[in-house]
Symmetry: C2
Subunit: 333 residues, 2 copies
């Protein structure tokens, strides 16, 4: 389960500096345990203190936990009981690396230092996890071309600048689907019932593909695909796509049969069969694309979620509508 948060954090670009808080307890290493107790007694923020950060001048040299003070003799200098060279985040450390470190340690709070080792403040463990939550909530939008930086409060022109380029990409891919449909204009003119089923084939293969895409992305985000073999996932999604395609295809095929009969089409039954076969083929292919699209994006070093749904529906649109029109042309004309 630790892998989950670690993998989820791996896309975060921010540095821990944006989470820095002032350290509530900083004492010089020459102070004694008794002086530390006196400091705690008179500290107003005692409830917030988990560790005392020990410095030489400004440089962080150690950390003393409450347990260490409990176990110390009153006259002992803090330098004697502190944990030396304590784990600390360097300024500029990415939140992703910090989360990895936090998952290995699970301290409630981490000191942060600059390159010279000077204490800058501290980062609380829960802040790191919270940052991961914010990041992960951006994933669904990323699939349709919404930047992970955009939130409800983003001004309209900023949102336009970030979203619009992906809509142009989407338009370009829609033209590809339109081109495929246009190749079958004669078929549509002769069997106009097919036009009504264009959105049915596109919609079903698109949604089936998006389901496979979502599970693949979740697996990537939670780090499950490190253990679960991609080949197995691919086999599963192909089978699932086929299974869903058969059941949905039977219903859609029956609908086409009824609709075409009612419209007086001569080959109503065969048209229904075309829908069934096209649906099985399109949904099976959609399962493949749902797995392959995010993995391909990742292989090329891109965010596996980014615009994944746009790329996926390009393939599923072409496959779903193209297969229906091709089969109808080949069998019925």
């Amino acid at each position: 389960k630790d892998d989950a948060t670690e993998a989820a954090a791996s896309d975060i670009d921010a540095a821990i500096d944006e989470l820095l808080q002032p350290a509530p307890a900083v004492l010089d290493s020459t102070k004694t345990a008794a002086e530390a107790v006196a400091f705690l007694v008179q500290s107003e923020a005692v409830a917030e203190i988990t560790y005392i950060f020990i410095v030489d001048g400004e440089k962080l040299v150690g950390v003393v936990g409450m347990r260490d003070i409990v176990l110390a003799k009153p006259g002992q200098p803090l330098a004697d009981i502190m944990v030396r060279e304590p784990f600390a985040f360097k300024s500029g450390t990415g939140v992703d690396a910090a989360v990895r470190a936090a998952l290995a340690r699970h301290y409630p709070v981490y000191p942060a230092v600059d390159d010279a080792g000077r204490l800058l403040g501290c980062v609380r463990g829960w802040q790191l996890f919270q940052r991961v939550v914010v990041e992960v909530t951006g994933q669904a939008g990323a699939q349709v071309g919404v930047s992970r930086e955009e939130q409800v409060t983003t001004p309209i022109l900023g949102a336009f600048r970030m979203r619009h380029p992906w809509l142009q990409v989407n338009l370009l891919t829609a033209f590809a689907a339109a081109f495929v449909v246009s190749m079958f204009e004669d078929t549509i003119t002769q069997i106009v019932a097919l036009a009504a089923f264009l959105p049915v084939l596109a919609g079903q293969s698109g949604n089936t593909g998006c389901q496979a895409l979502a599970i693949t992305l979740r697996g990537l985000t939670l780090g499950q695909l490190d253990e679960y073999p991609v080949r197995k996932l691919l086999r599963k999604e192909i089978l699932l796509g086929a299974l869903n395609g058969v059941v949905v295809g039977v219903v859609a095929g029956l609908a086409m049969w009824l609709y075409a009969s009612y419209s007086g089409e001569p080959n109503a039954f065969m048209l229904g069969l075309v829908i069934l076969v096209a649906m099985v083929g399109a949904c099976t292919g959609s399962g493949i694309f749902g797995v392959i699209v995010p993995l391909t994006l990742k292989r090329f070093g891109a965010d596996p979620a980014m615009a994944s749904s746009i790329f996926l529906t390009t393939f599923t649109d072409i496959l779903g509508m193209g297969l229906m029109l091709f089969l109808a042309s080949a069998i019925l004309l």
Copy 2:
């Protein structure tokens, strides 16, 4: 920012019991501070101890932090220095409620008790946040009808049972779009170029709507819509939809003009104009649906993400393709 995790946790059904760990330090309330120190000195798990849970028999009666022991006199009984009636999770408490409590307190660890007040173990704060991360990664899939319980490792038949019902819902909604298209069969027969632009209108309005949907869902998940007025978001998404629709519509309209001229359509320029106007209308409407669909699901007590993309694309398909076909019929026939 605390609201973020709290809101994100609000959909989790699990109870804290699944996160329970044994408490590493439990002492009777009659023991003294000196005895507690002795216990700590000989404890092997001292690094894991943040609090000592104080019991009378099995009943949790108090909590002693390391700080309390630092500040105590050696002979003081723990009953004198402990925090009485400490905050504890009851067995069966939902993870959502636990996260809310944890965000108010930010303790590193919480005791858990049964109904009789007996100490059952403890839950670490980071485990709660981690559970939220796993939950939030399920949101993208929920939009297309993938249960938040499904993961990469879910067996194929389980996945089929959970996904298939939503594909049937999607099919039903696709039939609605097909019905709208079928009403314009005559138009398509006369201007077959329109068939090729069906996927363009459906694809663009669908993706524009999914962008608005994603930002609205993110706002809900991060609790931002408690402060940001829905009316303002709606106005923003309407404007964004119109703006995106105009720019995308100009490109798509030009494409139609060229394509229709090339195909020898008599009204090529007017057809391009129909595409532009239909695109602006469809994308503007998509912005509205993107905001309204998840808020409506939430108002009816449902998960605002669940199948939201399926419902959304029903509306955007009908709006996008319907508007294009209606305008073409009204203006050109």
